[in-house]
């Protein structure tokens, strides 16, 4: 117990120090931070971009292998455990946790931006619109969900079936044995915390930008950095109060409300928007996505500038990987009692379909407005200020004020719930996988993650967010690949134990 405690403390202190150093650097040497992260960014893209591409494609293949493998029948937890949630709410929770704020932020901005500056070919053409939707499906489809499948399954399996602490290092028990409690395990946990803090800070940064944009649209508040800082400070105060007053249960209700509101907005747009076009976009893009999947997965530009790939595909892969310990922990928590096969279908297949549907509705409607309804200025407005994109888009639809208010509410709720749940996950990760992180540690992480989001915004907005998350996620990408092998080893031993059970029962 004592050794666990010490380990927890040292993991907490080292990861806290590393993050603090980063924050101090950002506050006092802002230009230098922007410059250095830029160098790291360019370096990792030029020399190591292929690592992200290869690793992410591997996770997709690995997840599909798990779906059809002999391990599919293994139940997460005891043989008698049954799921805590019914399948519909389970899927809704997975969808909300995995995408949350990002899906609202990018669902209009991304297809329109790709339409104006596509990965290849001419912008502002019908081909560019199809390519834009195809790449949006690609960035939000199987790949992110495969990353979550791998980490969520590994965490759930080692926590529930092998009774190990809820820490990333536990997933390496088949390879490292009890060394997971030593320096190697600590390093893994520190890296996972570091990546998580950056993943969360990126999301919180995007969230603050979008909340400010929403306030600008609804109440005319200036859409400036200063207001974004105020949003971050107010949100931090709110969730610190919620941690201290035990209002976290309220957060769960809020989270459910955000899910219901999101679906309401989606249906409303489907009904009031160009329904037929949306359906056509969904079918056509699904076909393009499936047929071009391998090409998109391995696409690099060895003989030219790969700027587009770096600022889109590689940013997403890095962001999903950095975000993975957080989402994986959440998915593991709500998936006890499911079998491996159910888990993979629920985490990989269903949310991918859901996300593609969401993107078709938002992106398809936006592109229809730009292409066929003669609203060329919409494309310009959206690409000019991405954080305002969803509200700009709502302005062109019937019931725009209702949609804007609902959209704003969803963004605010996602922001608070992400910040709140993140403090719990960071607390757990930094205290040796305990399910009882202390309020002090949760509050510390709450303040730190907000400060980091603020610093990253101050240092240069979205660009530095992207740069920093790519840099922080790189070592964790390697960790995730090793985790796959460890998971297979663990699953194999579980099958052997079960077979052994049957054999010995038959012999006696």
């Amino acid at each position: 117990m004592d050794s666990n405690k010490n380990m927890g403390n040292s993991v907490f202190i080292i990861s806290l120090l590393l993050t603090l150093i980063f924050i101090v650097w950002g506050v006092f040497f802002t230009d230098n931070l922007a410059k250095v992260t830029d160098i790291i960014y360019n370096g990792s893209i030029d020399y190591l971009g292929w690592v992200y591409l290869g690793a992410t494609l591997f996770f997709v293949i690995f997840s599909i292998y798990l779906l059809f493998s002999k391990y599919g029948d293994i139940r997460l937890g005891k043989k008698t455990d049954r799921p805590d949630f019914n399948t519909a709410s389970w899927l809704a929770m997975l969808f909300g946790a995995g995408m949350g704020i990002g899906i609202v932020y990018w669902s209009v901005a991304e297809p329109v931006t790709h339409y104006t500056s596509p990965p290849y070919g001419e912008g502002y053409t019908i081909d560019a619109a199809n390519t834009a939707m195809k790449y949006t499906f690609f960035h939000w489809g199987l790949d992110p969900w495969a990353i979550y499948t791998v980490i969520g399954l590994a965490l759930a399996f080692f926590q529930y079936n092998k009774r190990l602490p809820a820490a990333i290092s536990s997933a390496f028990h088949p390879i490292l044995g009890d060394r997971i409690y030593g320096p190697i395990g600590k390093t893994i946990d520190i890296l996972s915390i570091f990546a998580t803090v950056f993943g969360i800070a990126t999301s919180l940064g995007l969230g603050a930008m979008q909340v400010t944009a929403g306030m600008h649209d609804l109440f005319g508040v200036p859409n400036q950095l200063f207001v974004q800082m105020i949003v971050i400070v107010v949100a931090t105060i709110i969730f610190i109060i919620s941690i201290n007053t035990g209002l976290e249960r309220g957060i769960q209700y809020l989270s459910n409300a955000a899910m219901i509101l999101s679906f309401a907005i989606m249906l409303l747009i489907l009904i009031v928007g160009p329904t037929l076009t949306v359906i056509k976009v969904f079918f056509n893009t699904t076909g393009l996505y499936i047929s071009d999947f391998i090409h998109m997965s391995l696409r690099l530009k060895p003989f030219g500038e790969g700027e587009w790939i770096a600022s889109w595909t590689l940013f997403y892969w890095a962001w999903w990987i950095a975000w993975a310990p957080f989402v994986g922990m959440f998915i593991a928590r709500v998936s006890k009692g499911r079998t491996v096969r159910e888990f993979v279908i629920g985490v990989l297949v269903v949310p991918t379909l859901g996300t593609c549907l969401w993107m078709s509705i938002f992106g398809g409607s936006a592109l229809e407005l730009v292409l066929n309804s003669g609203n060329h200025d919409l494309a310009k407005k959206i690409t000019k200020d991405v954080s305002l994109s969803i509200f700009t888009f709502f302005d062109y639809l019937p019931l725009s004020s209702v949609l804007s208010i609902l959209g704003f509410a969803v963004v605010v709720i996602y922001y608070i719930t992400v910040a709140d749940t993140a403090t719990f996950v960071l607390g757990m990760l930094s205290e040796g996988g305990t399910l009882n992180p202390s309020n002090k540690i949760k509050m510390t992480w709450g303040v730190i993650q907000s400060a980091l989001a603020a610093v990253l915004l101050l240092a240069g907005g979205l660009n530095v967010l992207q740069t920093a998350s790519i840099a922080a996620a790189l070592p964790f990408a390697i960790i995730l690949v090793v985790m796959c092998f460890s998971l297979v080893k663990g699953l194999k031993s579980e099958v052997e134990v079960q077979r052994g059970n049957k054999r010995s029962a038959n012999h006696s």
Binding site: M1, D84, R249, T417, V497, S504, N506
Partner: protein, 221 residues
């Protein structure tokens, strides 16, 4: 007054006996799903037939054939049962009101249960085996029936002998480091229990938790 705001987790009296609400399906006539604490059997009824009871310190009741008294005097330790009466779950926890869980590990901040929940010390009441002197039995709503034979019998049993006895379909696992052995109870005659694979064993030996571990009952699946 009858309770109409029935919620999952509440303790209620139904047919004069203590039950726990494990589900409410508002669309149906018989909307309240109950589990009888004494033997964990399931029942279904409507809101008008149940009456709420809020468990508190020193209350005693039978849970799964064994008597317990609710205490606050000490923090729970590994192996204890707890009743979560003041749930304040973290954002990732899934427990609700009045869940009874087995403690797996405990520290200063709280306990971690067999269901992988982190529960702080102020969220639960400890379930101490047996009926404490001066405790308040809450098994029946109408205390005039307190002299019910079965209740006093079970309440008086010592914890060791009041364990749930083996029944057909129970799967037991032998606690043995050398080989893995799991078997099902296929017949019971007096004190002798017949396990699958032709093994005969006394009831007493099978109940020895150091040698045998109860896994689950086949019929519960």
């Amino acid at each position: 007054m009858k309770l109409y705001q029935v919620r999952k987790g509440q303790f209620v009296y139904y047919n004069n006996e203590l039950h726990k609400v494990y589900g409410v399906k508002p669309m149906y006539k018989l909307s309240v799903h109950l589990i009888k604490l004494r033997d964990l059997t399931q029942h279904i009824t409507n809101a008008a037939s149940v009456e709420k009871y809020k468990p508190k310190e020193n209350d005693s009741f039978i849970f799964n054939h064994k008597a317990y008294t609710l205490k606050k005097e000490r923090n729970a330790e590994a192996g204890d049962y707890i009743l979560i009466h003041n749930p304040m779950p973290d954002s990732l926890d899934t427990y609700t009101l009045n869940e009874i869980e087995l403690v797996e590990t405990a520290d200063k901040k709280g306990v971690i249960t067999g269901n992988s929940h982190g529960v702080k010390h102020n969220e639960y009441l400890l379930m101490v085996p047996g009926r404490a002197a001066g405790g308040n039995p809450i098994d029946y709503k109408d205390k005039a029936n307190d002299e019910d034979e079965s209740l006093s019998d079970i309440g008086a049993l010592s914890p060791a002998t009041s364990e749930q006895l083996p029944s057909l379909g129970d799967i037991y696992k032998k606690k043995d480091d050398v080989s893995i052995f799991e078997a099902m109870v296929v017949a019971i005659k007096d004190q002798t229990v017949y396990l699958g694979g032709g093994l005969e064993i006394t009831q007493e030996e099978l109940m020895n938790s150091e040698k045998w571990e109860f896994l689950y009952n086949l019929l519960d699946k």
